[in-house]
């Protein structure tokens, strides 16, 4: 017998409205469906009524965590339309903020993953360390969330020697902490055991369903826009694309921790080789009729903006594809044949409160619909039997 459990659109554990409909048999998810649109703000329509400059601040508000990603993706596209190039120093500062943003986003994700896995000390550690990078971002830009660093033709704020020193000191602290997190997997078997095998997404499925970012890279797809389409500074900076081959939540954690270490490397390179000169050039108010496809590797995967200009000071069309949307079909695939208890881990930020216990336990046979009141000892016996044949059970080994 199958039940359909709705999670959302309004749910205490959901930070944003999305509706998940889980078809479950017993506690195994057989099918999942996602309904979007509860938070559709009509931003692409609005962008057609705003000027090129106003749209920087509009695109920055697409996301609260990777705000710099969308504005950078937009700005680097519009600069191509306007046929201007930011000065080298401006470019370095822009992508320094990008990498610092990736650091804060990945540390945030690690904390959420730790929390959902029931490892709350990990959550508190990573979020404490995240304050280091948040303070750095505040020092650079004056803001913690919407940095407002980008402008057409460069960035709005410069760095001085003292700030560079402070950032390097902060990065040194973060590196030691991240190396510690990398080791945690080896010394904390419960954490590895909770993550291994959960949310399995094979390489073939990840390719077919167009997964992006760390989700794809954890399924051993070595796709990273920074390497595939080395825009701006990424052809000068040495870094590696991080992948894992376990295809599960453990792999996604490993990929993100490795990416943190790569981001520190990129930041240090950018700071040590920071050129002198201007940080911005003056941008025209209008752009000639043209079109551009702008790609950017956000913390969650590929951002794509398609921008078309018509000669006026407003865009003819701005199409935004955020990475999370691309990962939804893959998420549905991951949820299938998982447990209800794995939904929060797989969906990271979602914590469904389904088991509201009653005093007597009534068991409903999931296949026949037969109902029976049982004693606690019987329930215990059934549970032991049940967990002997778990459908998804893989080896829990931390991949070094």
């Amino acid at each position: 017998m199958k039940f359909t459990i709705p999670i959302g659109p309004q749910h205490p554990a959901l930070k944003e409205p999305i509706s998940l409909r889980m078809t479950v048999e017993g506690e195994v998810i057989k099918d999942a469906d996602i309904r979007l649109g509860y938070n559709h703000r009509g931003l692409e329509k609005l962008a057609e009524e705003k000027t090129w400059i106003q749209n920087i601040y509009l695109t920055e508000r697409i996301c609260g965590i990777c705000s710099h990603s969308h504005s950078t993706c937009y700005v680097q596209g519009v600069e191509k339309l306007m046929e201007i190039a930011p000065p080298k120093r401006g470019n370095y500062i822009r992508y320094l903020v990008s990498e610092l943003e990736r650091v804060h986003s990945h540390l945030l994700w690690l904390g959420v993953a730790g929390h959902e896995a029931g490892f709350d000390s990990f959550f508190m550690y990573t979020w404490r360390d995240r304050e280091v990078v948040m303070d750095l971002l505040e020092m650079i830009s004056g803001n913690r969330v919407h940095y407002a660093m980008n402008t057409l033709g460069g960035v709005r704020r410069d760095l001085d020697e003292l700030q560079i020193k402070k950032i390097l000191d902060g990065l040194a602290v973060l590196r030691t902490r991240t190396e510690f997190y990398f080791k945690i997997g080896a010394s904390e078997p419960t954490f590895v055991g909770r993550l291994a095998g959960v949310g399995y997404l094979s390489r073939e499925k990840a390719l077919a369903l167009c997964a992006v970012g760390p989700t794809a890279r954890a399924s051993s797809i070595s796709a990273d826009v920074r390497k595939d389409d080395p825009h701006a500074v990424y052809d000068e900076v040495p870094f590696d694309v991080c992948t894992a081959d376990t295809c599960d939540v453990l792999g996604r954690t490993v990929v993100r921790i490795k990416e943190l270490l790569e981001s520190y490397k990129i930041c240090e390179f950018l700071l040590k080789n920071l050129p002198t000169g201007d940080i911005a050039v003056k941008a025209p108010r209008r752009a000639k009729p043209n079109e551009v496809v702008s790609r950017y590797e956000a913390p969650r995967g590929e951002n794509m903006h398609y921008i078309k200009s018509n000669g006026s000071d407003k865009p003819e069309r701005l199409k935004v594809r955020a990475p999370t949307l691309a990962n939804y079909p893959a998420t549905v695939e991951m949820l299938k044949s998982g447990f209800i208890a794995d939904i929060p881990l797989i969906f990271a930020a979602i914590d469904p409160c389904i088991c509201c216990a009653e005093r007597t336990v009534e068991l409903v046979n999931g296949r026949t619909g037969e109902e029976k009141i049982v004693r606690f000892s019987e329930l215990r016996k059934l549970a032991d039997e049940r967990f002997k044949n778990r459908p998804v059970k893989r080896n829990a080994v931390w991949p070094f």
């Binding site: 009509g42 796709a223 398609y306 691309a326």
Partner: protein, 157 residues
């Protein structure tokens, strides 16, 4: 594979199905095809050129036609396939048989432009609400939003 090699391969593969092909920037190739050739071209792109990743599909209201732009990408760069369909009869064929990841973007296209995707595997609305009035397609240029008058229960008339 460089952009020129890719363009050469595309020309060999699709011949006169390509109306126009250009390379305006590094790692960006734009190709225009007729709407009738969408299914065979995408079958060829996935089978012969091994494209698996469709980044998104952009729609554009271009006066008397809709411009549909499929953004594909692989490790070599970004291929954009453009097609134009008349506004009077906006029908397009689904590319999901070749590239199953396109389903979300085709559904989005239906919601936003009212383009009818024939043989789409799942035609439910994706981004518009369940009670969205029929025939309202927000990204068409002639669509304007009018906020309904606010009625406060028990308020002044």
């Amino acid at each position: 594979m460089t952009d020129l090699e890719l363009m050469e391969k595309l020309k060999n593969l699709f011949g006169d199905k390509i109306v126009e092909i250009s390379n305006p920037a590094l790692r960006r190739v734009f190709m225009t095809i007729a709407p009738g050739n969408v299914a065979p071209v995408f079958a060829g792109l996935s089978k012969d050129l091994h494209y698996t990743y469709v980044a998104t599909i952009s729609g554009l209201d271009a006066g008397d036609s809709y411009e549909i732009l499929y953004h594909l990408a692989d490790l070599n760069g970004n291929l954009n396939v453009r097609t134009r369909i008349p506004k009077a009869d906006p029908h397009l064929v689904s590319i999901c048989p070749s590239l199953p990841g396109a389903i979300l973007y085709e559904r989005e296209l239906q919601d936003m432009f009212g383009v009818v995707i024939d043989n789409i595997p799942d035609s439910r609305p994706l981004v518009v609400p369940d009670d969205w009035p029929a025939g309202n397609f927000p990204l068409r240029k002639d669509w304007k939003y009018e906020r309904p008058a606010e009625i406060i229960p028990g308020g002044k008339k």
